[in-house]
Symmetry: C2
Subunit: 374 residues, 2 copies
């Protein structure tokens, strides 16, 4: 089996696929990438048993066959090679790699030992603009629960509804929801829960291609849903993942129907003040107080026995309820950091009710934080 | 006691001094910075008992006094403030800090508990161009021994001789030596050993000022030497350190008088090939072989049971001895990384003798690596 391809194509394929290959004491082959040639078609695959990623590499191919090779070693090695033609050829237990003045033999392991990666049929896709999905993933995925005690909260809810997907995530202390318009929806009405790690991989793969590569049109990603699996297809890369079973909580009931106070504020200014204030929050509680009682500025305060106390005023436009609220500053910064907008809108009721933020002038995203009781 | 100064001046002073303040279970006050006002003069100080750093801050000052405050907390807080005037005022156990719309009280601890930082008289300096000293430190400090089993090897030898300082460091497996021309030498002939941590702090402080600040002349650093201490003075910052006692080994005797093979090679190309080759070196041995037997190119090889084997050729100009040598690739990369030159010159004798490199066309620096015996 012989393969000739460019350094760029091989490197990009290895990086797309190899990121999830990692050390596993029970199944060491999971740190490898599978190379498989069938009908002059080279496929690379890697899996962590929960997620499988495959891609095809263009090149000149002779013979059939397969092998697996350490993902990190090969990707690192290829990254040091010049942007020239690379020749690969199987040689017993090794793969020979040649490129200009570089000759290498790398140990391989048998493909027969590599776990099967299930594939979904590419029927009935849901098609969405890649950069919109990437943004929506980043806007919600941080709010997933890090604990596995309630598995359904460790994933992102994707609700396919008409011409939209609604992504939501909550760890029960905060909740993020982002709505994305679809180009085409053949999935119909579905609600599924996807592991947060899968969503992070999808966003990583979407980020690994530069925008200019899609300058000739809209850069799309296709989503396919099976019985207990989902597949994302983008730029010749397929990401297959299991779904999380279980019932996602009816989070919509905790969203207040009416807020009584509204604030508009510059995100950069607010973030800087929150960070300064966070230095004086209590260890392990991370509490800062936001006071909305003056129309012209928001007052941020914090204090702790160890550090001292801090009061700052941030220019704002505040209307409605003159109240204050105590929040975990980490949760607040998590939300502000995803917003690529100049201003944020804050909606509140009182000290004990959910606190909502969204980028100014956007109605397709919000992030809610439950306050710390006073 | 009241202090008014600019955010930039305070921030720069805190960063210069505060870096060595760190947690110490036996003496918690070492994580603090000392503020001391005498005769309208504000001095900041921090120490780890081995190194003491002091600086003065310009500003409007009322009253005398002193206090200590957590170095990291204050430096972080000040970094979030706008580039405006900052007012500090002592208030019982606190220091009040005000800047625009920010008001803060930070807990302080008594200055009386802060260790004394010895000062050297600023007599008989040795004056050197700051960027030359910084470069020389970076060229040798990585070769210091990380172990304390031979304390003298854990430091950098500074030999003051006529119009030069010779800096040298060795961990007995490799040796780096750099010579710096002095502007003035009132120290005379001295040989002292300075802890590697001190040299790293000096290079950090030298790097924290941008080159353009000295555009009106030569940017110099003064060096003062006492009985068992050294002081570096730069831009209003004094770094005092203990010296390491002991006899530095007579390293010059291991430098071969005559090399029999000479090679010139592009540093970027060589580094890239060494990095590729390093992936196939044996774990824990880090061995790669350099072969000098062909005049037009250097052959780099490596192999291990786990990974496989690699052979690469790097364009070179090789003359003299047709031999090969096995080296620890980490040592080789350490040396190549400090060289801001296009080409490196390699000098060799045979497989068992020291291997020497220097940036092409420079005779004030060399780095020697002892080979791995074949």
């Amino acid at each position: 089996m012989k393969i000739s391809c460019t350094q760029e194509n091989l490197s990009q394929g290895l990086n797309a696929v190899g990121h999830i290959a990692s050390k596993n004491l029970n199944l060491p082959i999971l740190s490898n990438i599978l190379f498989k040639v069938e009908n002059k078609n080279l496929t690379l695959m890697a899996t962590n048993l929960e997620i499988g990623i495959t891609t095809n590499i263009r090149g000149k191919i002779e013979g059939d066959g397969d092998f697996t090779v350490d993902a990190k070693l090969l990707a690192n090695y290829i990254s040091f090679l010049p942007k020239e033609r690379i020749d690969l050829e199987t040689d017993g237990d090794n793969i020979k790699v040649e490129c200009q003045n570089q000759k290498t033999k790398i140990k391989t392991q048998l493909a027969a030992d590599f776990p099967l990666i299930p594939k979904l049929n590419k029927d009935n896709p849901c098609t969405v603009e890649a950069k919109l999905l990437k943004q929506a993933i980043l806007e919600v995925v941080f709010a997933c629960s890090a604990s596995e005690s309630r598995p359904e909260l460790s994933g992102v809810l994707m609700e396919f509804a008409g011409n939209n997907i609604i992504l939501a995530a909550t760890d029960s202390y905060r909740l993020a929801e982002s709505r994305v318009s679809l180009i085409e929806n053949k999935v119909g009405e579905r609600k599924i829960i996807i592991p947060s790690k899968t969503m992070q991989e999808v966003s990583r793969v979407l980020s690994s291609f530069k925008d200019e590569e899609s300058i000739d049109g809209v850069d799309t990603i296709e989503i396919y849903i099976g019985e207990s699996q989902i597949m994302f297809s983008y730029n010749n890369i397929d990401i297959v993942s299991r779904l999380i079973e279980g019932q996602y909580p009816d989070y919509k009931q905790i969203i207040p129907a009416n807020f009584t106070g509204k604030t508009k504020i510059n995100i950069a200014e607010l973030s800087k003040n929150i960070k300064a204030s966070s230095l004086f929050a209590k260890n392990g509680i991370y509490d800062i107080k936001l006071d909305f009682s003056v129309p012209e500025y928001l007052t941020v305060t914090s204090s702790s026995v160890q550090a001292g106390e801090n009061v700052s005023q941030v220019k704002a436009e505040i209307s409605g309820e003159k109240t204050n609220i105590i929040l975990n500053y980490k949760y607040l910064l998590d939300g502000l950091q995803t917003m690529n907008s100049e201003d944020v809108e804050i909606e509140i009721i009182d000290s004990n009710n959910p606190f909502l933020i969204r980028p100014a002038n956007r109605d397709d995203y919000f992030y809610i934080i439950m306050p710390i009781r006073q």
